[in-house]
């Protein structure tokens, strides 16, 4: 919970990690990728405020105590959602696995939601693993990394028939939220995720699932925005948007926020710190303090209300994950707002 100027904000960090990227976890023969990957992340951290930069050895493997302090004690977060990324081709135990996350979640009941992941190229064994993970950890969301390396393949698309099999299975198992990494381009080759058309297909064909596009396709927010306006079940995940832009590039941050508010809208934007890349504290405080600049070049962008910020920082995600939010944090629902199915559920649940 974060309180500022008498307003109380319920904070859901929808996108954070507990990884081990230290040399003890590097796959022999793939050290350069394991090292290159974590150093690339570390470079992203440099876009946050200087006093929040970590030395590389802490960044490779931060402790449970670090995480609990940074996220909950200092970071104002009420509920944190783990988004795993396996990368087992480079990291022996996996980079940031469902199991590692869930084990930490078990020690701190009520503070975490442990999502899981799947990879359509894992075929029947992958379907079985997904079922096991949902049963064991109660996952209601998955994080998908369409550019993950897998046995010689360097990526897949959500519109692949194999991916549809997994999406069908996920839905059957009670998964509601599909978080898809679409963002800063790293690899692979022709399957490079430079557009989000595969999400467009899947979102149309699975209207009961929510597709939260992490990093909003940054830098290609234009592709994301066109797609999101057409698909009612597509959300803008703000991880990386706040972390990489709010401090280092405030004017670009304003433009990106202005575009998202116009094309996607304040009811479909979710905060994510991307911890351990960036700590949530300065991002939460920064977003609460932030306003669209008065500058002429931002004149036709929407200003943010307190209600907008409350929705983005936690209430939208609470709806997606059925998190019970105490009444003092809620914002009044205006009767004039167009009623959506989600709104009806929230009102009915109160």
């Amino acid at each position: 919970m974060y309180e500022k100027d008498g307003e109380k904000y319920f904070i859901v960090d929808t996108h954070m990690h507990y990884w081990n990227a230290a040399p003890d976890n590097w796959v022999p023969g793939a050290e350069q990728y394991a090292k290159g990957w974590i150093e690339c992340f570390h470079a992203y951290q440099s876009l946050g405020p200087k006093e929040t930069h970590w030395p590389i050895d802490k960044f490779q493997k931060y402790s449970e105590d670090d995480l609990m302090k940074d996220v909950f004690e200092d970071g104002h977060v009420d509920v944190a959602i783990f988004q795993p990324t396996d990368l087992k081709e480079w990291y022996k135990e996996g980079f940031n696995t469902t199991e590692r996350n869930a084990a930490l979640g078990d020690k701190h009941p009520g503070m975490f939601i442990a999502n899981t992941r799947f990879d359509p190229r894992d075929s029947d064994a992958g379907l079985e693993e997904l079922r096991r993970n949902v049963e064991r950890y109660g996952a209601r969301g998955v994080k998908l990394y369409t550019a993950e390396w897998n046995n010689g393949s360097r990526g897949y698309k959500l519109s692949d028939p194999a991916a549809y099999r997994f999406l069908e299975k996920a839905q059957e198992l009670g998964i509601k939220n599909i978080h898809v990494h679409k963002g800063p381009t790293i690899w692979p080759l022709d399957k490079d995720a430079f557009d989000v058309s595969d999400v467009d297909h899947a979102a149309t064909d699975f209207p009961e699932l929510n597709f939260i596009i992490e990093h909003v396709g940054l830098p290609r927010i234009d592709d994301f925005c066109y797609m999101a306006t057409q698909e009612p079940n597509v959300y803008a995940g703000l991880s990386v948007v706040t972390g990489a832009l709010m401090h280092a590039r405030p004017k670009f941050f304003a433009r990106v926020m202005g575009e998202l508010l116009f094309w996607v809208g304040e009811d479909k934007m979710t905060f994510g710190s991307d911890y351990g890349i960036w700590e949530p504290k300065w991002q939460v405080e920064g977003l609460v303090d932030w306003q669209m600049p008065d500058d002429e070049q931002f004149a036709d962008y929407q200003k943010l209300t307190t209600a907008t910020k409350k929705k983005i920082l936690g209430l939208n995600a609470a709806k997606l994950y059925d998190i019970k939010v105490p009444a003092e944090f809620l914002v009044p629902v205006q009767p004039s707002e167009p009623a959506s199915k989600d709104d009806a559920q929230l009102v009915a649940g109160q």
């Binding site: 470079a43 790293i186 692979p188 234009d222 990489a244 990106v256 575009e259």
Partner: protein, 223 residues
């Protein structure tokens, strides 16, 4: 001679950022020997920059070098990248993208280049139109404007060049506002959305460019 090489390299752009590799800081070093051997080393903001974009830049740099009169041999090396070896060998052998990444790539990169050129056209439209709108030009007047009648500027020249690169109408009589896919004039009713699209496209390119420059600075910071 070295100046000629740098001038030639300034015509090589990051296809996505639509900026010269020279101003982006991607040229790490450039030497020319007395007998016309040009050597250029390129560097990128991260180890994992998409290899398709990287390949385009390395190949374009190579083509730019060999076109210079007096350059006898050209060598372009991309350093510190996970696919450096495949890209460098592929470009040196003039092998094309698919052959350079045997089994991993399925198409050459012309389509990718065209897709980002279309984005450059949209972003350029925002650059050209925003000051006009601020000066009070109405949508009806914008629809009627041709490239020849629009106020001349570096931004307009650039927009015209990108349109020509794509084979879209780029002469003086061509409308200022066109669909970047078809080249058709934008209808009056579609103007507000078209300009919104132009603006979000430019925001995306600018955000990307600023992230890339921040990462590059961090990666190659002195000391």
């Amino acid at each position: 001679m070295r100046e000629d090489v740098l001038t030639a390299l300034s015509a090589v752009r990051d296809p996505e950022l639509d900026e010269p590799i020279t101003t982006l800081g991607f040229v790490a070093s450039c030497t020319v020997s007395g007998d016309g051997q040009a050597r250029v080393r390129l560097r990128l903001p991260t180890y994992f920059c998409a290899p398709n974009f990287a390949f385009l830049m390395v190949a374009d740099a190579y083509d730019a070098l060999v076109a210079i009169p007096g350059v006898r041999t050209a060598e372009v090396v991309l350093e510190d990248h996970f696919a450096s070896d495949a890209i460098n060998a592929g470009v040196a052998a003039q092998a094309g993208f698919v052959a350079s990444f045997d089994g991993e790539a399925v198409a050459e990169l012309g389509g990718l280049r065209a897709q980002f050129l279309r984005k450059a056209v949209l972003a350029g439209t925002d650059l050209v139109c925003r000051p006009l709108i601020a000066a009070g030009v109405t949508p009806a007047e914008l629809v009627a404007l041709t490239l020849g009648a629009a106020p001349q500027s570096a931004e307009l020249d650039r927009l015209r060049q990108r349109r020509a690169d794509l084979g879209l109408p780029a002469d003086d009589d061509a409308p200022l506002l066109i669909d970047p896919e078809t080249g058709a004039r934008v209808a009056l009713a579609a103007i507000p959305l078209h300009l919104r699209r132009a603006r979000v496209t430019r925001a995306g390119i600018d955000a990307n460019a600023s992230m890339c420059s921040g990462m590059l600075r961090y990666r190659y910071a002195p000391g």
